[in-house]
Amino acid sequence: MRPFTYVEGVSVADAAAAVHATPAAMFLAGGTTVVDLMKLGVLAPDTLVDVHRLPLGDIELDDRRARIGACVRNAQLAEHPEIRARWPVVGEALQSGMSPQLRNMSTVAGNVLQRTRCPYYRDPHSACNKRVPGSGCAARTGWDRDAAVLGTSPRCIAVFPSDLATALAILDAIIYTRRGDGGARRLPFDGFHRLPGDTPERETILDHGELVTHFELPDLALARRSHYFKVRDRASYDFALAAAAVALDVERGLVRDARIALGGVATRPWRCSAAEQSLRGKRAEPAAFRAAADLALADAVAGAHNGFKIELARHVITRALTELAIRPG
Protein backbone atom coordinates (compact mmCIF):
# COMPACT_ATOMS: atom_id res chain seq x y z
CA MET A 1 0.00 0.00 0.00
CA ARG A 2 1.38 3.37 -1.05
CA PRO A 3 1.73 5.94 1.75
CA PHE A 4 -1.16 8.40 1.85
CA THR A 5 -2.56 11.24 3.87
CA TYR A 6 -5.68 10.53 5.85
CA VAL A 7 -8.12 13.39 6.17
CA GLU A 8 -11.32 13.23 8.13
CA GLY A 9 -14.08 14.99 6.25
CA VAL A 10 -15.79 17.64 8.37
CA SER A 11 -18.64 18.48 6.02
CA VAL A 12 -20.03 17.26 2.74
CA ALA A 13 -18.91 20.37 0.90
CA ASP A 14 -15.51 20.31 2.49
CA ALA A 15 -14.94 16.62 1.73
CA ALA A 16 -15.96 17.03 -1.90
CA ALA A 17 -13.73 20.08 -2.26
CA ALA A 18 -10.81 18.25 -0.68
CA VAL A 19 -10.96 15.36 -3.16
CA HIS A 20 -11.68 17.73 -6.03
CA ALA A 21 -8.52 19.68 -5.25
CA THR A 22 -6.22 16.64 -5.26
CA PRO A 23 -6.05 14.62 -8.47
CA ALA A 24 -5.04 11.37 -6.76
CA ALA A 25 -7.40 11.70 -3.78
CA MET A 26 -10.29 9.34 -3.09
CA PHE A 27 -13.21 9.16 -0.71
CA LEU A 28 -13.10 6.50 2.01
CA ALA A 29 -16.33 5.22 3.55
CA GLY A 30 -16.63 1.62 4.74
CA GLY A 31 -13.27 0.77 3.24
CA THR A 32 -14.24 -2.68 2.02
CA THR A 33 -13.44 -1.83 -1.60
CA VAL A 34 -10.80 0.86 -1.22
CA VAL A 35 -8.63 -0.82 1.43
CA ASP A 36 -8.86 -4.16 -0.37
CA LEU A 37 -7.74 -2.67 -3.68
CA MET A 38 -5.06 -0.50 -2.11
CA LYS A 39 -3.49 -3.61 -0.59
CA LEU A 40 -3.48 -5.22 -4.02
CA GLY A 41 -1.87 -2.15 -5.55
CA VAL A 42 -4.85 -1.65 -7.84
CA LEU A 43 -5.76 1.69 -6.25
CA ALA A 44 -3.03 4.02 -5.05
CA PRO A 45 -4.59 7.27 -3.80
CA ASP A 46 -2.25 9.77 -2.17
CA THR A 47 -5.04 11.17 -0.01
CA LEU A 48 -8.04 9.48 1.55
CA VAL A 49 -10.88 11.71 2.65
CA ASP A 50 -12.95 9.82 5.18
CA VAL A 51 -16.65 10.53 4.78
CA HIS A 52 -18.10 7.90 7.05
CA ARG A 53 -18.79 10.29 9.91
CA LEU A 54 -20.56 12.86 7.74
CA PRO A 55 -24.29 13.17 8.45
CA LEU A 56 -25.17 10.83 5.59
CA GLY A 57 -26.16 7.84 7.69
CA ASP A 58 -29.93 8.15 8.00
CA ILE A 59 -32.90 6.55 6.31
CA GLU A 60 -35.88 8.89 6.07
CA LEU A 61 -39.25 7.70 4.90
CA ASP A 62 -42.56 9.20 4.00
CA ASP A 63 -45.45 8.15 1.78
CA ARG A 64 -43.79 9.37 -1.36
CA ARG A 65 -40.28 8.07 -1.04
CA ALA A 66 -37.35 6.76 0.92
CA ARG A 67 -34.32 8.95 1.30
CA ILE A 68 -31.24 6.85 2.06
CA GLY A 69 -28.00 8.49 3.11
CA ALA A 70 -24.95 7.48 1.13
CA CYS A 71 -23.18 6.25 4.28
CA VAL A 72 -26.04 4.12 5.54
CA ARG A 73 -24.57 0.69 6.24
CA ASN A 74 -25.80 -2.07 4.00
CA ALA A 75 -26.86 -4.06 7.06
CA GLN A 76 -28.93 -1.14 8.29
CA LEU A 77 -30.73 -0.88 4.96
CA ALA A 78 -31.21 -4.63 4.64
CA GLU A 79 -32.85 -4.90 8.04
CA HIS A 80 -35.04 -1.80 7.86
CA PRO A 81 -38.63 -3.05 8.35
CA GLU A 82 -40.30 -0.44 6.17
CA ILE A 83 -37.76 -0.80 3.37
CA ARG A 84 -38.33 -4.55 3.52
CA ALA A 85 -42.07 -4.07 3.25
CA ARG A 86 -42.16 -1.45 0.51
CA TRP A 87 -39.10 -2.45 -1.53
CA PRO A 88 -38.46 -6.13 -0.65
CA VAL A 89 -36.05 -6.58 -3.54
CA VAL A 90 -33.59 -4.28 -1.77
CA GLY A 91 -33.32 -6.37 1.37
CA GLU A 92 -33.26 -9.61 -0.57
CA ALA A 93 -30.46 -8.38 -2.81
CA LEU A 94 -28.41 -7.23 0.16
CA GLN A 95 -28.95 -10.44 2.11
CA SER A 96 -27.79 -12.47 -0.87
CA GLY A 97 -24.48 -10.68 -1.06
CA MET A 98 -21.43 -10.19 1.14
CA SER A 99 -21.27 -11.50 4.69
CA PRO A 100 -22.85 -9.95 7.80
CA GLN A 101 -19.47 -8.43 8.69
CA LEU A 102 -19.11 -6.79 5.29
CA ARG A 103 -22.70 -5.56 5.37
CA ASN A 104 -21.96 -3.95 8.73
CA MET A 105 -18.96 -2.09 7.33
CA SER A 106 -19.80 -1.20 3.77
CA THR A 107 -22.05 1.68 2.84
CA VAL A 108 -24.87 1.93 0.35
CA ALA A 109 -22.91 4.30 -1.87
CA GLY A 110 -19.83 2.11 -1.63
CA ASN A 111 -21.92 -0.86 -2.67
CA VAL A 112 -23.21 0.89 -5.77
CA LEU A 113 -19.69 2.11 -6.61
CA GLN A 114 -17.88 -1.19 -5.94
CA ARG A 115 -15.34 -2.42 -8.46
CA THR A 116 -15.41 -5.46 -10.64
CA ARG A 117 -14.08 -8.80 -9.41
CA CYS A 118 -12.44 -9.47 -12.79
CA PRO A 119 -9.16 -11.23 -11.84
CA TYR A 120 -7.22 -9.25 -14.42
CA TYR A 121 -8.41 -5.99 -12.92
CA ARG A 122 -7.37 -7.20 -9.48
CA ASP A 123 -3.90 -8.28 -10.63
CA PRO A 124 -1.76 -5.17 -11.12
CA HIS A 125 0.54 -7.02 -13.54
CA SER A 126 -2.14 -8.07 -16.03
CA ALA A 127 -3.32 -6.08 -19.01
CA CYS A 128 -6.55 -4.31 -18.08
CA ASN A 129 -8.03 -1.27 -19.79
CA LYS A 130 -10.15 -0.52 -16.78
CA ARG A 131 -7.13 -0.27 -14.50
CA VAL A 132 -4.59 1.08 -17.00
CA PRO A 133 -6.33 2.57 -20.04
CA GLY A 134 -4.83 1.29 -23.26
CA SER A 135 -3.06 -1.68 -21.70
CA GLY A 136 -5.41 -4.24 -23.24
CA CYS A 137 -7.88 -6.78 -21.91
CA ALA A 138 -6.33 -10.02 -20.73
CA ALA A 139 -9.77 -11.40 -19.88
CA ARG A 140 -10.79 -11.54 -23.54
CA THR A 141 -8.05 -14.03 -24.36
CA GLY A 142 -7.81 -15.53 -20.90
CA TRP A 143 -10.12 -17.10 -18.36
CA ASP A 144 -13.49 -15.48 -18.97
CA ARG A 145 -15.74 -17.92 -17.15
CA ASP A 146 -16.99 -15.16 -14.84
CA ALA A 147 -17.03 -12.38 -17.43
CA ALA A 148 -20.02 -10.49 -18.79
CA VAL A 149 -22.20 -11.54 -21.70
CA LEU A 150 -24.13 -8.26 -21.95
CA GLY A 151 -22.87 -4.72 -22.43
CA THR A 152 -19.33 -5.76 -23.27
CA SER A 153 -16.97 -3.88 -25.53
CA PRO A 154 -13.80 -4.94 -27.31
CA ARG A 155 -11.96 -3.21 -24.48
CA CYS A 156 -13.69 -4.69 -21.45
CA ILE A 157 -15.84 -7.65 -20.47
CA ALA A 158 -15.71 -7.19 -16.71
CA VAL A 159 -18.87 -7.92 -14.73
CA PHE A 160 -20.30 -5.26 -12.50
CA PRO A 161 -20.82 -7.15 -9.24
CA SER A 162 -23.26 -5.24 -7.02
CA ASP A 163 -26.46 -7.02 -6.03
CA LEU A 164 -27.91 -3.83 -4.57
CA ALA A 165 -27.36 -1.89 -7.76
CA THR A 166 -29.23 -4.57 -9.69
CA ALA A 167 -32.19 -4.07 -7.34
CA LEU A 168 -32.01 -0.27 -7.55
CA ALA A 169 -32.07 -0.52 -11.35
CA ILE A 170 -35.74 -1.55 -11.29
CA LEU A 171 -36.85 1.00 -8.69
CA ASP A 172 -36.49 4.33 -10.54
CA ALA A 173 -33.90 5.32 -7.95
CA ILE A 174 -32.38 8.80 -7.95
CA ILE A 175 -28.83 9.59 -6.88
CA TYR A 176 -28.01 12.94 -5.30
CA THR A 177 -24.47 14.24 -5.32
CA ARG A 178 -22.38 17.17 -4.15
CA ARG A 179 -19.66 18.27 -6.54
CA GLY A 180 -16.23 19.44 -5.62
CA ASP A 181 -16.99 22.91 -6.97
CA GLY A 182 -19.99 23.25 -4.67
CA GLY A 183 -22.68 22.31 -7.16
CA ALA A 184 -25.12 19.49 -6.71
CA ARG A 185 -26.67 16.98 -9.10
CA ARG A 186 -29.74 14.79 -9.22
CA LEU A 187 -28.95 11.73 -11.35
CA PRO A 188 -31.37 9.03 -12.46
CA PHE A 189 -29.99 5.62 -11.52
CA ASP A 190 -30.55 4.45 -15.07
CA GLY A 191 -27.55 5.91 -16.83
CA PHE A 192 -25.47 6.41 -13.69
CA HIS A 193 -23.23 3.47 -14.54
CA ARG A 194 -21.56 3.72 -17.93
CA LEU A 195 -21.07 1.02 -20.48
CA PRO A 196 -17.38 0.25 -20.88
CA GLY A 197 -17.18 1.25 -24.55
CA ASP A 198 -13.80 2.74 -25.25
CA THR A 199 -13.36 4.08 -21.71
CA PRO A 200 -13.90 1.21 -19.30
CA GLU A 201 -11.87 3.09 -16.69
CA ARG A 202 -14.82 5.48 -16.31
CA GLU A 203 -17.42 3.39 -14.53
CA THR A 204 -19.98 6.06 -13.64
CA ILE A 205 -20.86 9.56 -14.71
CA LEU A 206 -19.49 11.02 -11.47
CA ASP A 207 -16.76 13.60 -11.79
CA HIS A 208 -13.62 13.60 -9.70
CA GLY A 209 -14.50 14.93 -6.28
CA GLU A 210 -18.22 14.40 -6.75
CA LEU A 211 -19.63 12.80 -3.61
CA VAL A 212 -22.80 10.74 -3.58
CA THR A 213 -24.89 12.04 -0.69
CA HIS A 214 -28.26 10.31 -0.94
CA PHE A 215 -30.34 7.80 -2.78
CA GLU A 216 -34.01 8.33 -3.28
CA LEU A 217 -36.46 5.53 -3.86
CA PRO A 218 -39.80 6.92 -5.06
CA ASP A 219 -42.81 5.07 -3.76
CA LEU A 220 -43.67 2.54 -6.40
CA ALA A 221 -46.72 0.33 -6.10
CA LEU A 222 -45.22 -2.60 -7.95
CA ALA A 223 -42.05 -2.48 -5.83
CA ARG A 224 -44.08 -4.03 -3.01
CA ARG A 225 -44.16 -7.15 -5.12
CA SER A 226 -40.49 -7.38 -5.99
CA HIS A 227 -37.92 -10.10 -5.61
CA TYR A 228 -34.24 -10.89 -6.01
CA PHE A 229 -33.01 -14.27 -7.14
CA LYS A 230 -29.35 -15.16 -7.39
CA VAL A 231 -27.31 -18.17 -8.48
CA ARG A 232 -23.73 -18.54 -7.30
CA ASP A 233 -21.18 -21.32 -7.01
CA ARG A 234 -21.28 -21.40 -3.24
CA ALA A 235 -24.40 -21.51 -1.11
CA SER A 236 -23.44 -18.20 0.51
CA TYR A 237 -20.79 -15.46 0.60
CA ASP A 238 -20.24 -15.44 -3.14
CA PHE A 239 -20.73 -13.21 -6.14
CA ALA A 240 -23.50 -13.91 -8.63
CA LEU A 241 -23.05 -16.10 -11.68
CA ALA A 242 -26.42 -14.68 -12.63
CA ALA A 243 -29.03 -12.80 -10.67
CA ALA A 244 -32.32 -11.08 -11.40
CA ALA A 245 -34.20 -8.29 -9.69
CA VAL A 246 -37.85 -8.39 -10.68
CA ALA A 247 -41.12 -6.69 -9.85
CA LEU A 248 -44.62 -7.52 -11.05
CA ASP A 249 -47.95 -5.79 -11.08
CA VAL A 250 -50.53 -8.44 -11.85
CA GLU A 251 -54.27 -8.00 -12.06
CA ARG A 252 -56.62 -10.92 -12.60
CA GLY A 253 -53.75 -13.04 -13.84
CA LEU A 254 -52.58 -10.48 -16.38
CA VAL A 255 -49.33 -8.54 -16.12
CA ARG A 256 -50.01 -4.80 -15.98
CA ASP A 257 -46.40 -3.85 -15.47
CA ALA A 258 -43.12 -5.62 -14.88
CA ARG A 259 -39.55 -4.74 -14.06
CA ILE A 260 -36.52 -6.89 -14.73
CA ALA A 261 -32.82 -6.26 -14.22
CA LEU A 262 -29.93 -8.68 -14.44
CA GLY A 263 -26.83 -8.91 -12.27
CA GLY A 264 -23.69 -11.00 -12.59
CA VAL A 265 -23.86 -11.14 -16.37
CA ALA A 266 -23.42 -7.56 -17.54
CA THR A 267 -20.89 -4.75 -17.41
CA ARG A 268 -23.30 -2.54 -15.49
CA PRO A 269 -26.68 -2.96 -13.75
CA TRP A 270 -28.72 -4.31 -16.63
CA ARG A 271 -32.32 -3.23 -17.04
CA CYS A 272 -34.23 -5.45 -19.48
CA SER A 273 -36.78 -3.00 -20.90
CA ALA A 274 -37.79 -5.00 -23.94
CA ALA A 275 -38.44 -8.04 -21.79
CA GLU A 276 -40.53 -5.91 -19.46
CA GLN A 277 -42.55 -4.58 -22.39
CA SER A 278 -43.18 -8.04 -23.71
CA LEU A 279 -44.88 -9.08 -20.49
CA ARG A 280 -47.47 -6.35 -20.42
CA GLY A 281 -50.92 -7.76 -21.00
CA LYS A 282 -49.63 -11.35 -20.91
CA ARG A 283 -50.76 -13.99 -18.46
CA ALA A 284 -48.40 -14.15 -15.47
CA GLU A 285 -47.21 -17.64 -16.33
CA PRO A 286 -43.91 -19.39 -16.93
CA ALA A 287 -44.40 -19.47 -20.69
CA ALA A 288 -44.57 -15.68 -20.86
CA PHE A 289 -41.69 -15.38 -18.41
CA ARG A 290 -39.54 -17.66 -20.56
CA ALA A 291 -40.31 -15.63 -23.63
CA ALA A 292 -39.37 -12.46 -21.77
CA ALA A 293 -36.16 -14.09 -20.59
CA ASP A 294 -35.25 -15.01 -24.16
CA LEU A 295 -35.76 -11.42 -25.15
CA ALA A 296 -33.60 -10.20 -22.25
CA LEU A 297 -30.69 -12.33 -23.41
CA ALA A 298 -31.21 -11.84 -27.14
CA ASP A 299 -28.15 -9.64 -27.51
CA ALA A 300 -25.88 -11.64 -25.23
CA VAL A 301 -22.43 -12.48 -26.56
CA ALA A 302 -20.35 -15.19 -24.96
CA GLY A 303 -16.61 -15.75 -24.87
CA ALA A 304 -14.79 -19.02 -24.53
CA HIS A 305 -15.98 -20.12 -21.08
CA ASN A 306 -18.97 -17.99 -20.09
CA GLY A 307 -21.60 -19.18 -22.53
CA PHE A 308 -23.41 -20.98 -19.72
CA LYS A 309 -24.35 -17.61 -18.26
CA ILE A 310 -26.75 -16.93 -21.11
CA GLU A 311 -28.79 -20.04 -20.47
CA LEU A 312 -28.44 -19.60 -16.73
CA ALA A 313 -29.63 -15.99 -16.82
CA ARG A 314 -32.71 -17.05 -18.79
CA HIS A 315 -33.57 -19.57 -16.12
CA VAL A 316 -32.85 -17.05 -13.38
CA ILE A 317 -35.29 -14.52 -14.83
CA THR A 318 -37.94 -17.18 -15.34
CA ARG A 319 -37.42 -18.52 -11.85
CA ALA A 320 -37.48 -15.08 -10.25
CA LEU A 321 -40.71 -14.09 -11.99
CA THR A 322 -42.34 -17.45 -11.31
CA GLU A 323 -41.51 -17.31 -7.62
CA LEU A 324 -42.83 -13.77 -7.47
CA ALA A 325 -46.02 -14.58 -9.35
CA ILE A 326 -46.98 -17.33 -6.93
CA ARG A 327 -45.98 -15.34 -3.85
CA PRO A 328 -49.06 -14.58 -1.80
CA GLY A 329 -50.10 -10.95 -1.23
Binding site: P3, L28, G31, T32, V35, L40, P100, L102, M105, S236
Partner: protein
Protein backbone atom coordinates in the same frame (compact mmCIF):
# COMPACT_ATOMS: atom_id res chain seq x y z
CA UNK B 1 -1.51 9.85 17.50
CA UNK B 2 -4.42 7.49 17.02
CA UNK B 3 -6.72 6.97 19.98
CA UNK B 4 -8.30 3.55 20.15
CA UNK B 5 -10.57 2.06 22.79
CA UNK B 6 -10.10 -1.69 22.88
CA UNK B 7 -11.80 -4.02 25.35
CA UNK B 8 -12.62 -0.98 27.45
CA UNK B 9 -9.05 0.31 27.62
CA UNK B 10 -7.92 3.49 25.95
CA UNK B 11 -4.72 3.51 23.95
CA UNK B 12 -2.79 6.23 22.16
CA UNK B 13 -0.75 4.77 19.34
CA UNK B 14 1.68 6.23 16.87
CA UNK B 15 0.38 4.53 13.74
CA UNK B 16 1.02 4.70 10.03
CA UNK B 17 -2.28 5.72 8.37
CA UNK B 18 -1.94 2.49 6.37
CA UNK B 19 -2.17 0.35 9.50
CA UNK B 20 -5.35 -1.66 9.61
CA UNK B 21 -7.27 -2.22 12.79
CA UNK B 22 -6.16 -5.85 12.62
CA UNK B 23 -2.47 -4.94 12.46
CA UNK B 24 -2.89 -2.34 15.19
CA UNK B 25 -4.43 -4.96 17.48
CA UNK B 26 -1.89 -7.65 16.66
CA UNK B 27 1.35 -5.74 16.18
CA UNK B 28 0.85 -2.72 18.42
CA UNK B 29 -1.39 -3.92 21.24
CA UNK B 30 -0.27 -7.55 21.44
CA UNK B 31 -3.84 -8.76 20.97
CA UNK B 32 -3.16 -11.64 18.60
CA UNK B 33 -6.45 -13.47 19.09
CA UNK B 34 -7.87 -11.96 15.90
CA UNK B 35 -6.09 -13.68 13.03
CA UNK B 36 -4.87 -12.58 9.64
CA UNK B 37 -6.11 -15.22 7.23
CA UNK B 38 -6.79 -13.71 3.81
CA UNK B 39 -6.24 -10.04 4.74
CA UNK B 40 -8.88 -9.13 2.11
CA UNK B 41 -12.25 -9.60 3.77
CA UNK B 42 -12.72 -13.09 2.39
CA UNK B 43 -12.34 -15.41 5.40
CA UNK B 44 -13.65 -13.81 8.61
CA UNK B 45 -10.74 -14.85 10.85
CA UNK B 46 -10.14 -11.21 11.82
CA UNK B 47 -13.72 -10.56 12.98
CA UNK B 48 -13.99 -8.16 15.94
CA UNK B 49 -16.76 -5.94 17.24
CA UNK B 50 -16.78 -2.20 16.61
CA UNK B 51 -19.50 -0.39 18.52
CA UNK B 52 -21.13 -3.75 19.09
CA UNK B 53 -21.27 -4.76 15.44
CA UNK B 54 -19.16 -7.50 13.91
CA UNK B 55 -16.70 -6.21 11.33
CA UNK B 56 -13.60 -7.38 9.49
CA UNK B 57 -10.63 -5.69 11.09
CA UNK B 58 -8.39 -6.39 8.08
CA UNK B 59 -10.37 -3.94 5.92
CA UNK B 60 -10.77 -1.25 8.58
CA UNK B 61 -8.10 1.41 8.84
CA UNK B 62 -7.15 1.90 12.48
CA UNK B 63 -7.13 5.66 12.09
CA UNK B 64 -10.79 5.58 11.08
CA UNK B 65 -11.82 3.79 14.28
CA UNK B 66 -11.08 6.63 16.69
CA UNK B 67 -13.80 7.20 19.25
CA UNK B 68 -15.31 3.77 18.71
CA UNK B 69 -15.44 0.82 21.06
CA UNK B 70 -13.49 -2.14 19.75
CA UNK B 71 -13.91 -5.55 21.32
CA UNK B 72 -11.75 -8.56 20.56
CA UNK B 73 -11.82 -12.18 21.69
CA UNK B 74 -9.53 -11.18 24.55
CA UNK B 75 -12.29 -8.96 25.91
CA UNK B 76 -15.14 -11.43 25.61
CA UNK B 77 -14.65 -13.43 28.81
CA UNK B 78 -15.37 -11.83 32.16
CA UNK B 79 -12.08 -12.42 33.92
CA UNK B 80 -11.69 -16.17 34.28
CA UNK B 81 -15.36 -16.76 33.48
CA UNK B 82 -15.65 -17.67 29.86
CA UNK B 83 -18.47 -16.34 27.69
CA UNK B 84 -21.19 -18.98 27.18
CA UNK B 85 -20.17 -19.27 23.55
CA UNK B 86 -16.58 -19.98 24.50
CA UNK B 87 -17.78 -22.74 26.81
CA UNK B 88 -20.12 -24.10 24.18
CA UNK B 89 -17.31 -24.14 21.60
CA UNK B 90 -15.24 -26.27 24.00
CA UNK B 91 -18.12 -28.58 24.86
CA UNK B 92 -19.17 -29.10 21.24
CA UNK B 93 -15.58 -29.34 19.95
CA UNK B 94 -16.44 -26.50 17.60
CA UNK B 95 -12.83 -25.99 16.57
CA UNK B 96 -9.83 -27.90 15.36
CA UNK B 97 -6.75 -25.91 14.41
CA UNK B 98 -8.21 -22.89 16.18
CA UNK B 99 -7.10 -20.34 13.64
CA UNK B 100 -10.62 -19.24 12.67
CA UNK B 101 -12.02 -19.73 16.16
CA UNK B 102 -11.77 -16.20 17.53
CA UNK B 103 -13.50 -14.93 14.40
CA UNK B 104 -16.19 -17.59 14.62
CA UNK B 105 -16.91 -16.79 18.26
CA UNK B 106 -16.94 -13.02 17.77
CA UNK B 107 -19.20 -13.47 14.78
CA UNK B 108 -21.52 -15.79 16.68
CA UNK B 109 -21.63 -13.45 19.68
CA UNK B 110 -22.75 -10.62 17.42
CA UNK B 111 -25.24 -12.90 15.70
CA UNK B 112 -26.91 -13.67 19.02
CA UNK B 113 -27.34 -9.95 19.58
CA UNK B 114 -28.69 -9.42 16.08
CA UNK B 115 -31.40 -12.04 16.55
CA UNK B 116 -32.11 -11.51 20.23
CA UNK B 117 -35.78 -10.87 19.73
CA UNK B 118 -36.45 -13.62 17.27
CA UNK B 119 -38.28 -16.52 18.74
CA UNK B 120 -37.06 -18.98 16.18
CA UNK B 121 -33.69 -19.29 14.60
CA UNK B 122 -33.45 -22.15 12.18
CA UNK B 123 -30.27 -24.08 11.47
CA UNK B 124 -30.36 -22.75 7.93
CA UNK B 125 -30.55 -19.21 9.25
CA UNK B 126 -27.60 -19.73 11.58
CA UNK B 127 -25.56 -21.25 8.76
CA UNK B 128 -26.34 -18.33 6.46
CA UNK B 129 -25.54 -15.77 9.15
CA UNK B 130 -22.22 -17.50 9.92
CA UNK B 131 -21.16 -17.95 6.30
CA UNK B 132 -18.72 -15.05 6.45
CA UNK B 133 -16.49 -17.14 8.69
CA UNK B 134 -14.64 -19.87 6.84
CA UNK B 135 -13.34 -22.93 8.67
CA UNK B 136 -11.00 -25.04 6.58
CA UNK B 137 -10.94 -27.80 9.20
CA UNK B 138 -14.66 -28.20 8.62
CA UNK B 139 -15.88 -27.74 12.19
CA UNK B 140 -19.12 -26.22 10.87
CA UNK B 141 -21.56 -28.83 12.23
CA UNK B 142 -20.03 -28.47 15.69
CA UNK B 143 -20.02 -24.67 15.48
CA UNK B 144 -23.71 -24.82 14.62
CA UNK B 145 -24.28 -27.09 17.62
CA UNK B 146 -22.40 -24.67 19.90
CA UNK B 147 -24.46 -21.69 18.76
CA UNK B 148 -27.68 -23.64 19.14
CA UNK B 149 -26.65 -24.65 22.64
CA UNK B 150 -26.24 -21.03 23.71
CA UNK B 151 -29.47 -19.99 22.02
CA UNK B 152 -31.59 -22.49 23.94
Amino acid sequence: MVRLTVNGERHELDLDPRTTLLDALRDHLGLTGAKKGCDHGQCGACTVHVDGRRVLSCLALAVAQQGREVMTIEGLALGVHLHPLQLAFIECDALQCGFCTAGQIMSAAALLGEVEHRRELSDASIRERMSGNLCRCGAYPNILAAIRRVRT
